[in-house]
């Protein structure tokens, strides 16, 4: 018999108190200590925050599905749009056990860099300009700068400094857009490539580009009307500055420079997401502001979700739900013991259609599962829901950059416009049109730089 040391609501009360006190993560002990000691996070939280079965008093347990019939049991653990999808759109979500091993919640190299900093007593801080720097004021050298985030700024910085948490990330993506009636409207293939310039896991500065933090290119390979469109964003280390944006549009047959201050525009017809939505940190961090932790609470989310490789060779999850049974991926949620409900506002965009956004961030790895943006009337607009996890399912496994450890990355995104009921269902695939593959490699940054991140590369990627 398990003897309960704390009453049932102790954990939740303590989390609320932590918010009031501006304390870091952890209820029974600071999460950061466990992080540094490489111990199970179970020691930081009482049982009811670590077990969905205990939390729901046996009504739901790992392996069960949350459906319209039982979703009200866990309504408070879901973001409101996911709740609505389950309640009204025939969405169902399988529940899995809460992950207690932190090493499974990061790419190995990123975790290693974070641990290295912790062991050396190095933590990030903000300089006078609001940028993350090392204790000595130099630019951040890699890993998660705030393993125990206490403020909204620190949570956001953890997401903003290194999007994919690898030095080079290349994602082959399909974005299928469903119309409000559930019919398939659009199906785009694209390649998203990120090259981290600073804040890298290897601690180096790529090509000595000390004023930059990353280079990022998106290339559309299908459908035919957008194929060959590519955009290169050069991100400054200074998060007050907008990236430089160069694009190749097939109709122009050449690379042109484009303005980059409008971040709330659909790049292609039908999609519900904006550049601003990516990674819940798609804009330079200091062009947003008023970061505020509204709440710390347990939540259900795809924080360590199932990998689509179990369902198909191209890593695409099976689907269900919606008017035609195709709107949602079959994904798994787990109970995260402590999720920061982070509010932020687009203070640098006076005419933004977005009033604010709320990201639900797991303190274990400072990553979001859902990020809801609200319109100017403060109505929920779009939920940018993402799943993350290791690329392993049964005997199928994808190795990470070092070729030894299991790869870790985002596995899917479902960007749902709750006002128009339009869904962008985005899969992180093994391969997409054009033969581009998702890549987890290290040591090929120079090659990838030439391939994706120069104006010559844009011209070449642009086909004809």
């Amino acid at each position: 018999m398990h003897i309960r040391k704390y009453d049932f609501n102790y954990g939740r009360r303590q989390l609320m108190k932590n918010v009031a006190m501006g304390a870091g993560a952890g209820v029974l002990m600071p999460l950061s200590k466990l992080f540094a000691a490489e111990q199970s996070i179970a020691k930081a939280y009482p049982d009811e925050l670590m077990s969905i079965e205990m939390y729901t008093k046996g009504k739901i347990k790992p392996g069960d599905f949350i459906t319209a019939q039982n979703v009200d049991v866990v309504k408070e653990l879901l973001d409101p749009i996911v709740y609505d999808q389950i309640k009204t759109m025939n969405r169902k979500i399988k529940i899995r056990a809460t992950e207690t091993d932190l090493t499974k919640m990061f790419p190995y190299e990123y975790y290693d860099a974070t641990m290295r900093n912790l062991k050396n007593g190095l933590a990030g801080k903000f300089n006078a300009d609001g940028n993350v720097v090392m204790p000595d004021g130099s630019n951040w050298a890699g890993g998660m700068p705030f393993p125990d985030p206490k403020t909204g700024d620190e949570v956001q910085a953890n997401m903003a400094m290194s999007w994919g948490r690898g030095d080079y990330n290349q994602y082959a993506i399909n974005d299928t857009v469903f119309n409000p009636d559930g019919s398939k409207g659009y199906s785009y293939d694209l390649v998203w490539a990120e090259l981290q310039v600073q804040g890298r896991c290897d601690g180096k500065v790529f090509r000595d580009m000390k004023d930059l933090v990353r280079l990022q290119t998106v290339l559309f390979t299908a459908t035919q009307d957008v194929a060959g469109s590519s955009f290169l964003s050069t991100w400054y280390y200074d998060q007050r500055k907008f990236p430089d944006l160069y694009g190749y549009l097939p109709q122009f047959r050449r690379v042109r420079q484009f303005p980059t201050n409008q971040r709330f525009e659909p790049l292609i017809p039908g999609v519900t997401w904006f550049l601003s939505d990516a990674w819940a940190a798609g804009d330079p961090m200091r062009t947003w502001g008023e970061y505020k932790i509204l709440e710390r609470k347990p939540m259900l989310g795809a924080f360590n979700s199932n990998w689509g490789g179990a369902d198909s060779d191209n890593w695409v999850h099976n689907v269900h739900g919606g008017p035609t049974g195709e709107t949602f991926f079959d994904v798994e949620y787990e109970l995260a013991p402590e999720v920061v409900v982070l509010e932020s506002k687009p203070v640098g965009y006076p005419r933004s259609p977005v009033g604010r956004r709320i990201a639900y961030c797991d303190v274990r790895n400072s990553l979001f599962c859902g990020c809801i943006r609200f319109d100017r009337q403060d109505k929920p607009w779009v939920n940018f829901e993402a799943g993350f996890g290791q690329y392993k399912a049964g005997d199928k496994e994808v190795k990470g950059p070092d070729g030894k450890n299991t790869a870790w990355s985002w596995t899917y995104v479902m960007s749902f416009d709750s006002q128009t009921r339009r869904m962008s269902r985005i899969a992180h695939q093994k391969e997409c049109t054009g033969g581009y593959q998702s890549i987890f490699k290290q040591g090929e940054d120079e090659k990838m730089y030439s391939r994706f991140f120069t104006q010559q590369a844009l011209q070449r990627l642009g086909q004809v």
């Binding site: 194929a227 430089d244 409008q262 292609i268 039908g270 259609p353 054009g434 030439s450 070449r460």
Partner: protein, 698 residues
């Protein structure tokens, strides 16, 4: 797009290797990453006319088809010394009369009233453009370094038009003929929409197959090799440079293909299907993180214009054009150039140099080669007089020394003389002096000096008593006399040639950052081009081309701005361009300001005023997406401060499932104020239309 990937396991199985005739080991690394992708679309495109004005450059839309014009014949001054010299008969009868000029002495009984429409049938079209288009693109990636890209475009025009057929004038003076370089496909039948035929009869665009109503070609067929900072492409390809949209300051390598829908497609597509692909090699090298070098060398391909009597033809069909692209050896010429582009944060710069042949080409009078005598009562009289002249080479005073065209002849008859002039006595040409001056003004040529050049540069013209004139009155008198002698009309023959030029370009860009939301992220680009000794068509069509230094400067300002919370941001572009020698399409500015005959002073010695200042243009455009970008509103306008405007509002609907619907209206007004021949847009006034495009992509 449906895509399929030829995966390495297929290759490893040997199936593809066999199919490609390759001998690749099962685990070969060379084609390990091989992939094939395919995509394409089909599109129906139609443009409905919204103006009653047919294209006046075509036979069926000629301004004078429905107008009756009086013509008077005069005694050629070349004959006056015989009858009216200082001691001649007329001087005796009417002392003091100036007889040495055209218009002095009327030839009674030969005058008439001509109505062009009595020979030339007018047309009345509801549509300017109706085509079905299919495009497909195949990408074969052999490895991360090597790939082949092939894009094929097929266009079919069912020709649902009220067409003017040249066979309808065969009964008049044996119809339109042409000479040895003449191609019947262009001038003696119904319009040919797609063949690009040069003198000699060939269709010189490589990898292109065309007929009257279809066109199939490869806008791209390129093999690409990429390694590190080098990228090399070889094949049929298009190359575009520069930040300016539509204004071709840096956009030097390719000519334009103005068949199909001319320049009247969606403005925001710019020249996407207009650049003439060129067999070329292109090497680009990322020299540093910030500097890109781009270079090319290719086989020269000129701009292709719409054929005679096709809806967007811009060369009046009273001309027969002999394109010397092959005969002049230009098809063997190479063009080449390089560009450096560098970007440093807010600032950027670019520089380019190109040695090329001007793709637009230049025009001048050329011998018609059509041996067809003058005819009709007056023509017969001329023929008799001509036969009475002493043939050169028969000895006597017609040999050596100053040749007297009044008494001597170089040719057997007036037909041979005309063959050695730029004229052809056939229907479908110019019927009156009024028509001559009106059209000269519209194409920015000088009707007076142009006439003189057609005489002084050609002994065949002089042989049939044509002589240079001093003013508009004399020109009109001479022109009408010869039109009557041709028993209706004269067709003019011009040749198109190409000249080498060195083009230099410099550009600078700056991204403005400001706390003011509207001023923030404004991107400024200035691009300048300088071409020393550029060759222009002489406004006389004379044999001597105009050669002058030309500069072109453009300013481009782009930005995104959100005006409404409910709508995505608006993309806004503003552009301005100035040129000191020619207009946007390369016509020399000295040919501007021309007037019809009835607006010219009879004593005017020039029919054009020319432009004293530069040609200036302003472009403003915007793109306003709706939420989710399912609807987009577009607007673009080209404004000529001299009194012309081209405005294009449009809407685009992306309902999904591979379907796109686009509609846009082309409003063109070249008569806002002033003389229409002072602005660019009056040239396209006839092309006001609504275009609808339905696309299905696969």
């Amino acid at each position: 797009m449906n895509d399929f990937h030829v995966r390495q396991h297929l290759l490893k199985s040997g199936a593809l290797a066999v199919g490609l005739g390759l001998s690749v080991p099962a685990s070969a690394g060379l084609f390990e990453d091989m992939d094939v992708s395919f995509g394409g679309f089909v599109r129906a495109e139609m443009a409905a006319r919204t103006t009653a004005l047919e294209n006046p450059n075509n036979q069926g839309g000629n301004y004078f088809n429905d107008r009756s014009v009086g013509r008077t014949a005069f005694v050629p001054p070349a004959l006056l010394p015989v009858v009216g010299g200082s001691d001649g008969l007329l001087q005796v009868l009417v002392p003091g009369t100036e007889l040495g000029e055209w218009g002095s002495v009327v030839l009674p009984l030969f005058g008439d009233n001509i109505r062009r429409g009595d020979e030339i049938v007018s047309v009345d079209n509801d549509f300017n453009y109706t085509v079905l288009r299919a495009e497909g693109e195949v990408g074969i990636r052999f490895s991360s370094e090597l790939r082949l890209i092939a894009r094929v475009r097929a266009v079919y025009d069912p020709t649902f038009y009220d067409e003017w057929d040249a066979r309808s004038v065969e009964q008049f003076n044996n119809g339109i003929e042409g000479g040895e370089d003449f191609d019947e496909r262009l001038y003696t039948r119904s319009p040919n929409y797609f063949d690009y035929i040069v003198a000699g009869g060939n269709t010189p665009n490589p990898l292109e197959w065309t007929g009257r109503d279809y066109q199939v070609y490869f806008p791209a067929l390129v093999l690409e090799y990429n390694t590190g900072d080098f990228n090399f492409r070889i094949g049929n390809q298009q190359i575009a440079w520069g930040q300016s949209i539509f204004f071709r300051v840096f956009d030097l390598p390719n000519g334009l293909d103005l068949r199909r829908h001319s320049i009247l497609d969606r403005a925001l597509e710019e020249f996407s299907d207009k650049r003439v692909p060129m067999l070329s090699a292109r090497l680009s090298y990322q020299m540093t993180d910030n500097i890109l070098l781009d270079s090319y060398v290719g086989k020269f391909q000129p701009t292709v214009l719409g054929n005679p009597n096709t809806p967007y033809n811009i060369i009046p069909v009273q001309f027969t054009v002999q394109d010397r692209y092959e005969q002049g050896g230009y098809d063997d010429e190479l063009v080449y150039g390089l560009r450096l582009k560098a970007d440093y944060g807010q600032w950027g710069w670019q520089a380019a140099a190109s040695r090329r042949y001007g793709p637009e080409g230049v025009y001048r009078w050329t011998k018609s080669g059509v041996n067809k005598q003058l005819t009709g009562p007056l023509g017969s009289l001329v023929n008799v007089l001509y036969a009475a002249k002493v043939p050169a080479g028969d000895g006597g005073f017609c040999n050596g020394g100053a040749f007297d065209a009044t008494l001597c002849r170089r040719y057997a008859d007036s037909g041979e003389a005309l063959a050695n002039s730029p004229f052809e006595a056939s229907p479908g040409g110019v019927y009156s002096a009024d028509e001559w001056f009106r059209y000269a003004a519209e194409v920015r040529l000088d009707g007076i000096t142009g006439l003189n050049a057609s005489i002084t540069d050609f002994d065949g013209s002089q042989d049939v008593y044509a002589t240079p004139v001093e003013n508009a009155r004399q020109a009109a008198a001479q022109l009408n006399t010869f039109f009557i002698a041709a028993n209706d009309s004269l067709r003019g023959h011009i040749e198109r040639e190409y000249f080498q030029e060195n083009v230099f370009a410099l550009g600078v860009s700056y991204v403005n950052e400001s706390d003011n939301d509207f001023l923030n992220q404004l991107i400024f680009n200035i691009e300048a081009q300088y071409t020393p000794e550029r060759t222009f068509t002489n406004i006389t069509l004379g044999q001597e081309y105009i050669r002058q230094d030309e500069y072109t400067v453009s300013l481009v300002i782009d930005k995104w701005h959100r005006f409404f919370a409910e709508f995505p941001g608006t993309y806004i572009v503003f552009q301005a361009l100035t040129k000191n020698r020619s207009d946007l399409v390369g016509r020399h500015l000295s040919g501007y300001g021309g007037k019809p005959l009835n607006e010219l002073e009879p004593t005017a010695t020039r029919a054009t005023t020319g432009k004293n200042d530069n040609a200036n243009y302003v472009v403003f455009g915007f793109l306003q997406p709706f939420p989710n970008k399912i609807w987009e509103i577009e607007f673009a306008t080209l404004f000529d401060p001299e009194g012309g405007i081209f405005a294009q509002p449009g809407v685009r609907w992306n309902p999904g499932k591979g379907v796109t619907v686009e509609g846009f209206y082309n409003y063109i007004n070249g008569e806002l104020w002033g003389n229409p021949n002072d602005n660019l847009l009056s040239t396209l006034d006839f092309a006001e239309e609504f275009t609808l495009r339905l696309t299905y992509q696969f």
